[in-house]
């Protein structure tokens, strides 16, 4: 009996849905990957699973009532979002923030940066395949920072701390010793992280040369934050367009060499070190005085528009607010760094293996709440 053999083996790529429920998509982000064996041929990014219509809802609420919304946009860096929005409204209404308020804003924005980068680096090494250990180590410091937040404003994650014209509360006295002891131990902790991950042979093998973005490509895709700096472009809004009191502070901008996942990881680690440096200066130099300007309860800025941007842990975070003279914003828009940084994912992953794509996605450090809003 003759056995029929196929003339040629027919093969076709497989479409795999990574997400919306997947351990590595950091939320409900869906990556539709076309795979040829293990090699990624194409990725399709599908977003919108966490869409809460923030920008439309904000048009129905007063300027002050919108601050809690900004917490929920990037829930890993609530302080930064508060800050950016408040800056935009202050620009619109022409409100001057008292000096202590500005220093407190810097203090909490930098603490938030450390907390957010700890999370980013922990999940990044997790995506490289470590079984939760780096994440747990980095959570140790993040917890202490969240405790400081709780001391100050009663919330840990969605802080709602900044106000139009300053900050909501002066931190309690017990914050300062806790902050100082945290700052004292941070250099040792950073050494520990570096010793555990930076020269780890497997971390190097998994992230060096993976997900490379050149400086040109990064600028063309209008990336920002650690992604842009990882690609070698020295751009940080704290230096380039200083807000609050960053122009009076002494710190450095770390810039990567090759633009790969490893560089982004190192840039984030170094930024934590620089944030500790900033915080030490803040603790020494913070002036006394009021922390909040006199702002009318029913704020009705004159008709006009304003855009304020800050360097959030994820990149350039901007809020665009338009007023028609009424109590609510006529238009409220957020330039979310996660969304724009994500747009470079396809370039970074196509042609490499699925495992690399996951590591690359981890190195972008997306927050889905910010992508979908």
């Amino acid at each position: 009996m003759a056995i029929e053999t196929p003339k040629r083996v027919h093969s076709e790529p497989v479409v795999v849905n990574i997400g919306p429920q997947h351990p590595s998509t950091h939320g409900v982000f869906r990556l539709k990957a076309t795979l040829d064996g293990e090699i990624v041929q194409d990725v399709d990014m599908l977003i919108g699973y966490l869409h809460r219509s923030m920008e439309k809802l904000a048009e129905e609420r007063t300027f002050t009532q919108n601050i809690p919304f900004t917490d929920r946009i990037d829930y890993l860096a609530a302080m930064s979002n508060n800050l950016s929005y408040c800056l935009a409204v202050e620009k619109l209404a022409g409100i001057e923030v008292p000096l202590r308020g500005q220093w407190l804003r810097v203090l909490f924005a930098e603490l938030q940066r450390i907390a957010s980068h700890a999370m980013a680096n922990g999940t990044f090494v997790n995506d490289c395949g470590a079984w939760q250990t780096p994440l747990m180590y980095m959570f140790r410091e993040r917890e202490k920072i969240l405790d400081l937040f709780e001391m100050t404003c009663g919330a840990r994650l969605t802080t709602n701390y900044m106000r139009i014209g300053g900050v909501a509360f002066d931190p309690p006295l017990e914050l300062w010793p806790a902050l100082c002891s945290l700052l004292d131990e941070m250099p040792d902790r950073l050494e520990e992280y570096a010793a555990l991950t930076v020269d780890n042979e497997i971390v190097l093998a998994r992230s060096k040369g993976v997900g490379v973005v050149s400086a040109e490509a990064a600028l063309n895709a209008s990336l920002s934050g650690p992604l842009l700096r990882g690609s070698g472009v020295p751009w940080d809004l704290r230096k380039a367009d200083p807000y609050c009191v960053y122009d009076q502070l002494d710190f450095d901008i770390p810039v990567g060499r090759d633009g790969d996942c490893y560089d982004r990881f190192r840039v984030r680690l170094e930024e934590v070190r620089q944030s500790v440096r900033i915080l030490n200066q803040v603790v020494e130099r913070i002036p006394g005085g009021p922390w909040q300007a006199e702002v009318p309860l029913h704020l009705r800025p004159a008709a006009g528009e304003a855009y304020a941007r800050i360097e959030s842990p994820r990149g350039e975070l901007g809020f665009y607010v338009v007023s028609d003279g009424g109590p609510t914003p006529w238009r409220f828009h957020c330039r979310a760094p996660s969304l724009i940084n994500l747009s470079a994912l396809k370039e970074m992953t196509v042609g490499r293996s699925l495992a690399d794509a996951i590591v690359t996605l981890g190195s972008i450090d997306i927050v889905v709440g910010e992508i979908d809003r």
Binding site: V14, V16, H22, P23, S24, E38, V125, N126, D127, C128, G129, A130, W131, Q132, T133, M136, Y137, R140, V198, D199, N200, E201, I202, V203, L204, A205, R206, K208, A215, E216, L219, R229, G230, S231, G232, V233, P234, W235, D236, K239, A240, D252, I253, P254, V255, G256, R257, Y262, D263, R266, V267, E270, S353, L354, A355, D356, I358, G362
Partner: protein, 423 residues
């Protein structure tokens, strides 16, 4: 009184005495086949009685040790120090609904959780717990071990295929590619041991170590390392857990399994880790023998301690290392472990000939050989590291500091061209 105590102690030291007495008693009145059957049944029941509780304790131990590695407490709510946590987990898993995907191949889907359990239990049969404590001292014990533990792949592949899930299929494909490769490295490692000891009986290998008064890891460090890594790959444990890589393919081949079916996969993973640790301890750390201490302490306790040590290494690896990519794993196996394995097979053959045919003085020859083998191991690993570029072990340069240079592409180029010493 003291004589009675000593007798009880003697029984504890060698539990096979009890089995022998029962068997002899059965043989005194019954047919011979019944005695054999009873002897086998006692062994099987004994092993099952040991494995069940051990697994429970292992789940707790692994979770606790990992938790300590991760600066947290681990389970501490259920029972004293969380000791009853595995029981609670098992109850939860049993009570959970066992989903079968609509598109799954129903009958094949049922099989794998059962199939993986069989080799996990069978291999215990050839593990010597003491000089006489072994269910079956096969003269081809090593072959039996490899053959039986290799069938695991089949169950995993069935699981991946029958689930009709792409993650599961990816996991199954990865398992097959990796396990087959690493099995070759493992076979070569065990072949080296067999060449040197001249026996395929696992108890024989322990007896050889006892007779030569040396544990094999000293004589064959590379082989022990290969076996450890091969076992890690076969067990799908970090850094080689690509088959169930959580961050990539969710849970690999058992993505679709829920309830106690998943529980079985999980339990088998631990049972296999335990049995591989035990075999690692047997082949390379002297098994139940420990420089004469086995005359006083029950041999199975010695084996248990050594097994725990190896098991701790597995947990330690899991708590510390990230995962490698599949091509990196394959490179490591085919470019380092397999060639090195072949080299050591040749070395072991030469050493065996020198010891037997030329009757070299063992008290001098064995230490010299140990030193030579260690040197060759270091040389082989060093050469591999040099070739792959991993050898120049220094932390890659960290980020530069912008130091006031800010801007777009031009600043980026300037910064890239700046001598690295100046930043």
């Amino acid at each position: 009184m003291s004589a009675w105590l000593l007798a009880a102690w003697y029984d504890l030291r060698d539990l096979s005495g009890i089995s022998r007495e029962i068997t002899e008693w059965v043989a005194s009145w019954g047919p011979e086949w019944l005695a054999s059957a009873v002897s086998g049944a006692i062994g099987a029941i004994g092993i099952l009685a040991v494995i069940g509780p051990t697994l429970m304790i292992l789940i707790w131990t692994e979770r606790k040790v990992i938790a300590r590695l991760q600066v947290r407490y681990g389970p501490n709510r259920v029972g004293p120090r969380g000791l009853l946590q595995p029981v609670a987990d098992a109850v939860k898993l049993i009570l959970k609904e066992e989903l079968v995907p609509r598109a799954a191949d129903k009958w094949l889907f049922f099989l794998p959780p059962v199939l993986v359990f069989i080799p996990a239990l069978l291999v215990w049969g050839v593990l010597p717990f003491g000089p006489h404590m072994q269910v079956a001292d096969l003269n081809v014990g090593v072959l039996f071990l490899l053959a039986v533990s290799g069938t695991n792949v089949l169950a995993v592949f069935i699981a991946g295929w029958a689930s009709n899930n792409k993650y599961a299929l990816f996991g199954a494909m990865r398992v097959i590619a990796m396990t087959i490769s690493y099995e070759i490295a493992m076979v070569l490692a065990l072949l080296t041991v067999v060449f040197l000891t001249g026996t395929m009986s696992i108890n024989g290998i322990v007896l050889w170590q006892q007779q030569e008064d040396l544990i094999l890891i000293v004589l064959l460090p590379m082989t022990a390392l290969t076996f450890l890594l091969g076992a890690t790959a076969e067990l799908n444990r970090t850094p080689m857990d690509i088959a169930e890589a959580e961050s990539e393919i969710v849970a690999g081949y058992h993505t679709e399994y829920s309830g106690m079916r998943f529980g079985l996969f999980y339990a088998v993973e631990l049972a296999n880790t335990l049995v591989m640790s035990a075999f690692m301890a047997t082949f390379f750390l002297g098994g139940w023998w420990l420089w004469g201490l086995d005359a006083w302490v029950p041999s199975w306790i010695i084996l248990l301690v050594k097994t725990s040590l190896v098991y701790f290494v597995f947990i330690w690896l899991r708590g510390t290392l990230p995962r490698l990519r599949i091509d990196q794993l394959m490179t490591f196996c085919w470019k380092l472990l397999v060639p090195a394995g072949l080299l050591f097979v040749a070395i072991a053959a030469v050493e065996r000939t020198l010891l037997l045919e030329y009757a070299w003085d063992r008290t001098i020859a064995l230490p010299v050989m140990a030193v030579i083998n260690a040197a060759v191991t270091v040389a082989v690993i060093g050469a591999y590291a040099r070739v792959t570029g991993a050898g120049a072990h220094r932390a890659p340069a960290g980020p530069r500091m912008a130091r006031g240079r800010l801007g777009g592409l031009r600043a980026a180029r300037q910064l890239a061209q700046a001598p690295s010493g100046s930043d």
